[in-house]
Symmetry: C3
Subunit: 480 residues, 3 copies
């Protein structure tokens, strides 16, 4: 028991190996290590913080709801059923939290050198105070040790939020949400803001089975009838204003492609009417409708100044059997090739120089970085490059991202790090990873004689704080 | 003569430059350097080992049959005719082996920093005991020195096979092969196994001039009439069983794309009948037929457990003048863009969770690694990422591959190294290169504080031995 | 004033951080640092050298005409109008040169770690003798200091040309140019050659508004009527001969794609006739016409030996509002995905082994390097890989380029560095950057035990001098 291997959190982790470069990285990291966390895009459920209940177990906290973890377990042969995501109330669990935890610990080698392991080690050691390395042998001891922590009020969501030093956390919300949790949190005395982000995807997917129901809910929320696309856009404008009044500074949009393209009104009306009548909508029509609605979103954004985030390039619900049985977001969304230059041309041609318009683009396709996105962001004032997203939210992809875009777009056409997480506990781990990665990248520029150390330190602060807060309009523009 | 430059085989070659990281690499490499070679995909001719004749000359051994070598010579202006690949028996050679060798030695600088040079230097120094650097001046001396070795029984194929420490070598065989050479080898007392792999590509290419003849040979081998696609599939099942009975654990499939997609039976029958009747088959039909047959292959694999290897993304016989005059595999197969996520969706939707099904995918398109293949392999239990293939079988591509896929798929969803070579003498050189590259990559993880050294060493052994033997079902599953 | 931060030009800039590797880089760089500049593709206006007038100001010299600089300023919110590129004679300037310079200096942080900053620092310190770091505070002082230099005859174009040690500079010229400036320069006693390059793009763009006018000018220059495509090709042959007689060794071709493909004569005639008649030409026809004319260009090149350069993959004039108001080449040309293997197949099939034919391909799409272009250049004797182009003309892209192509194509199927610049003052800065980058890349090969230092030094000289001069036929073939 006493000779179980320990997790060693190397204080120099992620820094370059060369001693001189490493010492630069340390100095740069020191300047930013303790800055407040600015988390302007993510998927933490505001109900978690509003309710402030204790977490149920290590499994709920670290495994079940983290698709980075569960998918890798599944890829190694763990049955999807184990996680029992869609268990109806009352039905018995397929496996207890403890059993799932044991399976997870047994699979620990599968996570070697993945960002999940990096985050988990940080969470275990730095947040939960557990330093045993997970294994079949240590699983129960770790489970119990974590259970003990979770009983402690210091490990409730709001206490952790404050301990993490979060200055602002943006959530992602349905367009019909009443934002009641945000109201609760604003009045709760929480140190740090929790602001909403409107994500109206479901209103744009006319071929989706839920579309009619989504529009109905949206009508109710907006207090306006929606009989055609014009009504829909008007209702969106109403709801954007509502979100803005509750502190939102941005909207978010997911799309398989980057197409943002207006369509003649007659076509829009035809597709809307067919969908409303419950007719089947052809895939090409559904794509064109989405592209049109994104264009109209940009038009609204150019007026009200909400920053438009575009997450493009994933095939959602890649495996219909998985999503129908186990629900969405189980790790079975798969990236695909996307075009940016042609797809974004109508958007940028119309709004790329508009003073109030701002678009942050996220991609899963690395080949777009140097070829299309950096040249676009390095030309249009309205376009910013989002942080490496999802599968690319890793130290090595961050390095590749900086290498691919800095030459052409510099640092100040990027939007800064966003953690984009559902896994609340991983927030400080992810920001620490991003800060270390930036420190490493900047240290290499210093070592290569391309940037004096003092400038690198100033730049590190900009990347950590000033760039995200100003690009996402959380604070006033940087004076530059 | 005495001052000819020598080949210096740096004992630390391919290791990181930073001294601390290099020392980690050395320690990791030491753990795996002398492990037996597991070569579970490749193109060594079993006849070579069955006949066990002496090699004819340095030229035959190292140049003529290695398209990595000949294509680079051709690109620098050496006429294709020099190699005289398709010389009919009795016709005089365009150039003697010695003349070809001289031309090769004269072109040595063209190979600077290529993997071919790395392999050749290993072969010359470590296997053949020659350390003169090839040049116009040294060509004859090296040719003669090698000739002397080749006279020695210790340099016959089987002796080399045993000296290389090969535990198992998989060949790639026509689906109608009687596997007689494998029978010979099994009974020969050779230390190490030589197992066959069925590659039925020619049966799937209905637009190819040889298709009818291939089907005819296959009928004979299977002992069954083939009048429609159903018959063809039934005959394939018979032959798979035959290959399995001779030790095969896998099949191999080459395809320009990754499309694996079932087609309605009526269409399959129509295309088969047209091809059988000698009618011209449209390219789209030929593609659909191949995709369908690959889908049926997966169905069989889910039953008999033969691992399905898919090599996709090359335009074969890119230059018809080259292939018609000089034959296939002369370096004029050129990779092209391929899609994985959409193309593999029917396969994974149908068989991605089947217990006995296993698919190893190889690509020539690096942009697929992080974007599509790692997310797929990091989700589906049936999918494994093949080693960097062909043009990507190089130390730098290996590093890029590890960087691109490990974050998302980890190490245990990859299939381990395969040498994939026709050039028998390069087998140990290629495995040594892969081991050094892995040691270097793991050492960098250790230096970055992401992996303790002991874990890196354990992982190195898994990558070298356990992963390939279990993924390819050569040995029972790893207990994990 | 005295405590303004200085620009520190690190003598080891761009070299690897590891001390041993760095010392190799230094030794390699020393061998090539002072070699004459060979600049065989670029956009310096020959009129600049022929007129030999003093530069007007720092702004004209370093900012306004450099789209790398202006686009990054625009991306950060500087209005395009500031640069006033298309001001008609007599109209007052929107902003004085000094005001533009102040804006540029204020934006200095936007250039952190970009190649523009690297080049500018070299130009300021090494050429202009200014070492204050640009900022709002220092702007006027630097402007005045540069003004003082520009008054000096030593800073006139021809004096700088000689100081830069330029052995040969190739310009890029309209196909109807009389090359009068080149005549002036040849007779001027200038140390170093200035040779023309014919770029007939405008003759190939039948859908372009200016096409008829371009053909008219070309008729006049060629002294031949052009009534159909055959006439056009004949006239091109005449003009190629004229360019050759004035020292040209190459032509240059820009195309959105890499399509080079012959078309039936009837189609060519139909499209030509329609365009000549002023009818609108469909985009597909315009693309096919361009592809056909590029094929015919290759045919001519296989006869007269002019090296064919192909720059493919940019959407020109991406934003019509920008180009119509501010002109072309303002940083709003955006790369897009391109195919090489299929697109180049007709070209290589027809001319890939032609003795006199030679094609240098440049791409903006990194994913082509390892996947398609290196395999093609590593097989066909006629194909050479151009230097990393435009957005990829950066130290980090150069490293990625070497890594991606060397394994498969070696060094001797690349065409060597070309600076491709409009910004005259940046020529030595760009060549120094390329030499340092090559020294760094070769040093890493030495450190990894893949290349002895002496061979790396020999190779560095080849990359700097012998390869470009022989590939572009400026000098006789390397004896190899």
């Amino acid at each position: 028991m006493t000779d179980t291997p320990k997790i060693m959190l190397d204080p120099d982790r992620l820094f370059p190996a060369d001693p001189t470069t490493r010492s630069f990285a340390r100095e740069i990291y020191e300047t930013i290590r303790d800055l407040p966390i600015v988390s302007l895009h993510g998927h933490v459920d505001p109900a978690l913080l509003a309710a402030d209940e204790p977490f149920r177990s290590a499994t709920q906290l670290l495994v079940t709801d983290d698709h980075y973890i569960t998918r890798l377990m599944v890829s190694q042969g763990v049955p999807l059923d184990l996680f029992d995501w869609t268990r109806p109330a009352g039905r018995e669990a397929a496996a207890s939290d403890r059993e799932v935890w044991r399976e997870f610990c047994r699979r620990w080698p599968a996570f070697r050198a993945t960002p999940s392991r990096l985050w988990l080690e940080y969470e275990l050691v730095e947040i939960l105070g557990v330093d045993e390395r997970p294994s079949a042998e240590s699983a129960d001891r770790i489970f119990d040790a974590i259970a003990e922590r979770l009983d402690d009020a210091a490990f409730r969501p709001r206490a952790l939020f404050e301990r993490f030093g979060i200055d602002v956390l943006a959530t992602t919300d349905e367009p019909w949400s009443d934002l009641a949790y945000h109201d609760v949190l604003r009045d709760s005395g929480l140190r740090g803001a929790v602001i909403p982000t409107m994500r109206p995807d479901k209103l744009f997917e006319v071929a989706h089975a839920d579309w009619t129901e989504s529009v109905r809910k949206f009508e109710e929320a907006a207090g306006a009838r929606i009989d055609d696309a014009e009504d829909l856009i008007a209702a969106i404008a109403i709801r954007r204003e509502f979100f803005r009044s509750r502190g939102a500074t941005a909207t978010d949009h997911g799309s398989p492609t980057m197409e943002v393209r207006p369509m003649p009104a007659a076509d829009v009306d035809r597709i809307f009417a067919a969908a409303r009548a419950g007719a089947e909508v052809a895939a090409a029509d559904a794509d064109a409708f989405r592209a049109h609605m994104l264009f109209e979103t940009a038009r609204l954004a150019a007026q009200d100044g909400l920053v438009m985030q575009l997450h493009a390039g994933a095939i959602r619900d890649y495996d219909p059997r998985v999503s129908s049985v186990h629900g969405p977001d189980r790790g079975f969304d798969i990236p695909m090739w996307t075009d940016a230059a042609n797809a974004l041309r109508p958007l940028l041609g119309a709004f790329g120089f508009e003073e109030r318009f701002r678009c942050v683009v996220y991609t899963l396709d690395e080949s777009l970085w140097s070829r299309e996105l950096a040249p676009l962001a390095g030309a249009y004032p309205a376009l910013f490059l989002g942080a490496p997203w999802w599968f690319l939210d890793t130290p090595s992809a961050m390095r590749r991202h900086r290498e691919a875009v800095t030459d052409t777009a510099g640092f100040y056409n990027t939007a800064g790090f966003v953690d984009d997480t559902r896994a609340f506990l991983s927030i400080p781990a992810r920001h620490d990873t991003a800060r270390r990665s930036d420190a490493a990248a900047l240290a290499e520029l210093v070592a290569a004689g391309l940037l004096p150390l003092a400038e690198a330190q100033e730049l590190a602060i900009d990347l950590t704080s000033h760039i995200p807060t100003t690009v996402f309009r959380w604070k006033k523009e940087m004076d530059s």
